[in-house]
């Protein structure tokens, strides 16, 4: 298979972007990405767009808004969807586009406008990403699903609410240093612990944000990558796993089988293991999700994820820095955008271009982990400075 590299990255500011439409947010990211790559849009042969929700965008084929507004037509464009993992699926689809030989230069765009819908409506749309037929009628929401995971993890491994809160404290610490983040402020453990209960045992600060925002990356074949970029970042491993729609069908609630499978594929393809990863972004839609991700990705033994963050091993300087961009928790989570934004972050880290205070020193190999729903899909990518 041909090698594929990231040769340009860009993103909009995340937040409550009542100043911009979906297409305008996408434009911000695409413009930044093409300027970063020093490539005109005219050279791009194909596009992959990730907008997760027709319901939140109140339109079918919202990708057409993006394609039109940046002036891409009549060239090929393709939309992918896997709820919150849509963005990473778009990155994967872009990679496939190049590896298949269909194109040498592909633009991958993630965009989402979530805050036009009231919170209860957004909660409903997101909740319906789970098993709408058999679990939603019990008032289940996304915080509800992850609360069930948290409760099971606490019962089985003794994970504490303070350990959950420690994830939020870390991610807000780094989010405060990220100029693109939705909520740029530090929080204390006390504040997190005393916030109101959303779905017991998860509290307000255990939950990620509902955000607007867009991100874009430019992917190139090996032939073009070195011509375009002095520091191409290679996608060395790709993995995609799936899991049951219904949470009740999982034999073990403390792990996401989709993540375990995606990680296995990605590590094997890249020829690396968890110990080789210098920096990671993982899907912290809820604090418990980050702790489960540590374990499922092999950053620590099963059951020790809570201690890993409590011991500050996932801070810069620890054994494996995780979500030093603020994560979904503080950077924000425009659902279709998140996976693309993860690729933006890892590319910057491996280029050594992350913001002051949150650059991981000598980062050569990075990993992104993106979950759709409560584990129906999981996507893991391994990125590297080196091609092989």
């Amino acid at each position: 298979m041909g090698n594929v590299a990231v040769v340009g990255v860009g993103q909009s500011h995340f937040g409550i972007r009542s100043d911009a439409s979906l297409r305008e947010l996408a434009f911000e990211a695409v413009k930044a990405c093409l300027e970063d790559a020093h490539v005109p849009l005219a050279d791009v042969q194909s596009m992959v767009v990730s907008v997760a929700s027709d319901e939140l965008s109140c339109a079918l084929q919202p990708s057409a808004q993006v394609v039109d507004y940046i002036g891409f037509h009549p060239r090929p464009s393709f939309r992918v969807e896997g709820a919150c993992a849509s963005g990473s699926m778009a990155v994967r689809t872009g990679w496939m586009n190049i590896a298949s030989g269909l194109a040498d230069l592909v633009l991958v765009v993630g965009a989402e406008k979530m805050t036009e819908a009231p919170t209860a409506r957004a909660t409903e749309v997101l909740g319906r990403a789970g098993d709408f037929l058999w679990e939603y009628p019990f008032g289940m929401t996304f915080p509800g699903y992850y609360a069930l995971i948290a409760q099971a993890h606490m019962a089985k491994y003794g994970t504490t609410e303070a350990q959950l809160a420690a994830v939020a404290v870390k991610n807000h610490h780094y989010g405060a240093l990220n100029p693109y983040a939705h909520m740029r402020k530090e929080i204390t453990l006390e504040k997190a612990m005393n916030s109101f209960v959303v779905a017991a045992p998860l509290k307000l600060y255990d939950c990620c944000l509902i955000s607007d925002g867009a991100a874009a990356i430019l992917l190139a074949s090996e032939k073009l990558a070195k011509r375009i970029s002095k520091k191409p970042i290679w996608i060395r491993g790709l993995g995609l796993g799936t899991g049951s729609l219904s949470l009740a069908h999982r034999e073990d609630l403390t792990t996401l089988g989709a993540t375990v499978e995606a990680a296995r594929q990605a590590y094997e393809m890249a020829g690396v293991g968890p110990k080789d990863i210098d920096v990671a972004v993982v899907h912290d839609c809820f604090t418990i999700a980050e702790i489960v991700a540590y374990e499922d990705l092999g950053f620590c033994p099963k059951g020790e994820g809570g201690r890993l963050v409590e011991d500050r091993e996932t801070y810069i300087g620890g054994t494996i820095p995780v979500n030093v961009d603020g994560g979904l928790k503080s950077k924000g989570h425009p659902i279709g955008t998140t996976g693309v934004s993860m690729a933006v972050e890892i590319t910057k880290q491996l280029r050594g271009e992350a913001d002051e205070g949150r650059q991981v020193p000598k980062a050569e190999v990075g990993l992104s982990h993106n979950v759709g729903g409560n584990g129906q899909h999981a996507v893991v990518h391994v990125f590297s400075q080196d091609k092989e």
């Binding site: 909660t123 037929l133 009628p137 008032g139 995971i149 779905a199 017991a200 998860l202 949470l247 609630l253």
Partner: protein, 148 residues
């Protein structure tokens, strides 16, 4: 009583008999007539052998609580002014706990936990699933403290 309104979506599926079961006070699972695999929630089609014929078997006995939560921030359908638009009962148990129990045969059942406060629940405790008629006449599945 509108037992069939457990969910309009269940009524419009090949497993609409589940709603009839609730009406009779029975909680039902599907059993594939080809390979014998039992599934809850019921499925008319078998993902194990691709069989498409099934028979109903009752879910009975007591299970162990696998996990639970109480949802305080509810989705649109469960907010008071919109609950009438829900295709299933949005009668206010909120924030009653919701749990999953694992039965002895491995089936897992989700339901509202009735008659117990969240702080008295423990993973591993014994609860029994059963149908329940809500005050609005619709049926749902609840988990209640096992006797004895």
């Amino acid at each position: 009583m509108e037992f069939r309104n457990f969910s309009l979506l269940v009524r419009d599926t090949k497993v609409h008999g589940f709603a009839d079961g609730l009406e009779r006070g029975e909680l039902l699972a599907s059993k594939c007539t080809s390979c014998g695999k039992v599934q809850y929630p019921p499925q008319s089609d078998c993902p194990h052998c691709f069989g498409t014929e099934f028979e109903w078997v009752p879910v009975h006995g007591v299970g162990k609580l696998v996990s639970f939560t109480s949802v305080f921030v509810t989705p649109d359908h469960f907010t008071p002014d919109l609950s009438r638009t829900a295709p299933f009962s949005a009668y206010g148990y909120q924030p009653a706990p919701v749990g999953i129990v694992e039965m002895e045969d491995g089936l897992r059942v989700m339901g509202w936990v009735l008659g117990l406060k969240a702080d008295s629940l423990r993973v591993g405790m014994r609860l029994a699933p059963r149908p329940e008629v809500l005050p609005d006449g619709r049926a749902t599945v609840v988990l209640v403290k096992a006797e004895g």
